[in-house]
């Protein structure tokens, strides 16, 4: 990681932490509101700059490794929260900033050093499908994580307005997850002459998609209102988390091979 990346990503973490502090401590309509928005936007700009610097360093799209993807996931979470939060007194933005900071901490501190270095992709991955597939996955993860957490929060508090925002975020994330899976399948066909290979990562993406699809179907069924829907959402979020964090561990435990593990 070069100095520009280190400063940009480090700055993003500090700015997002400041934004979260302002949102938690401040009043809903005071100067803190403006500070929250300004700091969140500045942190996002820093992450974007860091990803740009990383791309320049390897002369390629930056979403080629786990570190860059995690940062992009965090960025997409804050941007989604900013877009949703316009009329919601910062509850969604607080949630988004919290998720983004957790992801940021994972990338900066928990990820092994070898996985933090920018590396050129192998020739099989050098394709314009890569930024489309990985970029849409980052947006999808952001929407689904934010939406699911907000939905669970709204269900606990019985908050209808927050529920509406949560569903909007889940719909947004679901569309991008569908796009990401479809784009990945077409890319796989162009590279390996097959749409689907039951690779563990792609299988868990499918599991996540199936669970959220089940949730969409449950919305219209009287027998599946309330707690059952919340359970489906929790399962979907768990599957998403497992796809992103748990699969590497599982692959090591049972000796699985995956094209998606770096």
């Amino acid at each position: 990681m070069n100095a520009a990346e280190a400063w940009a990503f480090g700055g993003a973490g500090a700015l997002w932490a400041g934004a979260l502090a302002a949102a938690l401590l401040g009043r809903a309509r005071g100067w803190e509101e403006k500070a929250t928005l300004a700091l969140a936007a500045a942190g996002s700009a820093c992450t974007l700059a860091g990803l740009g610097a990383r791309g320049l360093a390897i002369q390629y799209w930056p979403l080629t490794d786990r570190y860059a993807f995690t940062q992009a996931f965090a960025l997409a979470t804050v941007l989604t929260a900013l877009a949703l939060d316009a009329r919601d007194r910062h509850r969604v933005l607080r949630l988004g900033l919290g998720v983004a900071l957790a992801l940021w901490a994972d990338a900066q501190w928990l990820l092994p050093l070898g996985l933090r270095r920018a590396a050129l992709p192998v020739p099989a991955l050098r394709h314009y499908w890569l930024p489309l597939h990985a970029g849409s996955a980052a947006v999808a993860y952001a929407g689904l994580t934010l939406g699911s957490l907000a939905a669970v929060w709204a269900a606990r508090q019985g908050d209808g307005a927050l529920q509406v925002l949560a569903r909007r975020a889940i719909r947004w994330g679901y569309w991008w997850l569908s796009a990401s899976i479809f784009l990945g399948a077409v890319w796989a066909r162009q590279t390996w002459a097959r749409f689907w290979g039951w690779d563990p990562k792609e299988t868990w993406s499918l599991v996540t998609w199936l669970l959220y699809t089940a949730w969409f179907h449950a919305l219209g069924l009287p027998a599946w209102q309330g707690r059952r829907q919340a359970v489906l959402l929790a399962l979907g979020l768990a599957a998403l988390g497992f796809t992103f964090f748990g699969l590497e561990w599982l692959a090591r435990q049972v000796g699985l091979f995956s094209l998606h593990l770096f």
């Binding site: 050129l120 192998v122 020739p123 099989a124 050098r126 394709h127 499908w129 719909r171 947004w172 679901y174 569309w175 569908s178 796009a179 479809f182 399948a185 077409v186 890319w187 066909r189 162009q190 590279t191 390996w192 002459a193 097959r194 749409f195 290979g197 039951w198 563990p200 299988t203 868990w204 499918l206 599991v207 199936l210 669970l211 699809t213 089940a214 179907h217 449950a218 219209g220 069924l221 027998a223 599946w224 599957a239 699969l247 599982l250 049972v254 000796g255 699985l256 091979f257």
Partner: protein, 461 residues
Amino acid sequence: MKATSPSSPQGARAGLEAVARGAWRVLSAESLSLWLLLALAFLSALGTLVPQWPPSAALAGEGAAEWAAALEARYGPRLASFLHALGLLDLYGTPLFRAVLVALVANGLACTLARWRTQWRILRARPRPAPPPDPFPPGVRVARVALSGGAAAGEAAVRAACRCVGLRPRVERLGEAGAFVAERGRWTASGTLLGHLGLVLVAVGLALGLAWGERARTPPLAGGQEYALPWAPDVALRVQEFRIERYPDGHARAYLLQVAVTHGGTEAVREVRLGAPATLPGGNLAFLYGYGPAVRLDVRGVDGTPLLSSVSQPLAPSASLALPDGTSLVVERASGLPGQVHVQRWRDGALEAEGTGPAGEPLALGDLEVRATLDWYVVLDVSQDPGFPWVVAGVLVALAGAGVALGGRWRQVRGFWREGELVLWTREAGSGSLGARAWERLVREATLACGGPPGEEEPGP
């Protein structure tokens, strides 16, 4: 009413129809979709907990024994055979998994067909302004606003209120009374249907590919070697040149292969890259699957007479080549000597001569001079997939449908006025609802425009 006995032909027919109707109701039920989705999610997840039979080994028929041995070494022979007996090592190929998949596709198709007519009616039928129903059905939000003035005042109020929420009313005057409908995005109600239709198209494309598609993997092909497609022998590939582009630090940047494609007496050169297959005649495609070292041989007699020129053989791990004089050459990389080759000449199973030297340099081997230049071999996947256009079309339709269903919203409000009163109503929630905030704005604006005291809002019955 005419009674039919169950044993009569009419009774049997009626019973069959009832069974068919029931089956259709079950097959097109949304709850069945939900359970099938959950079952598929569970089975898919289960398949990732144990190593699955690698498709490449199954396709090429190689590495199967190696894979089984590695599995036994990891899990022990007893657990490995138990997993095998349960079908967990090829879970995605088991009848149970396929049955769930087929049931889900059938359910998707049935849901699409069952809802098509209703959706089509919603799309086609332009709602007409009408007096309010009495009583209002459940799930409807109603507001009554006091109207001071006649029919013209009512219409003006309606137009002002609708403008305020971005809708244009369609008004019909009924004498001194009037009614209106204002709506936007009715077509978005068809998004879900379109999404399902796209998924059905994807399934059809995949089924076409499975039923009528062709796929094969070539043996290792070195420069100059030919391969004819098994299902279209008039289409043949000849490997011309394979090269690896590298970064300054030596890492591979791209793999490039040139093949000459012959078909119907004509020859054309095509390029195959990893991730960019070459299009062959007849809708066939050639994908670069793998590569490895090969050797190109030039063999001459001691007097310089060429015996064999530029014959390439894969070094996997050695290459063997028959010569016109009945002897054969076996070539391999010299062990522990980078860039050098070891060549043996055999006659009737007995070693006649051998030598080691730098690749590309002439090597004397009895009465022969052998020049062995290191080269590459490639392995290609060739395929024909008649379902691909269906899959791509299905993906686009599904994404468009999902975008419409998830992004847009059908909003509708209706109203009726007569002397002294304006009644507005919309659905409480879901498709066709105006939305809580817009509804509040509409009622406020209508109240102001009517010029009367604030009206009362009724919750839905």
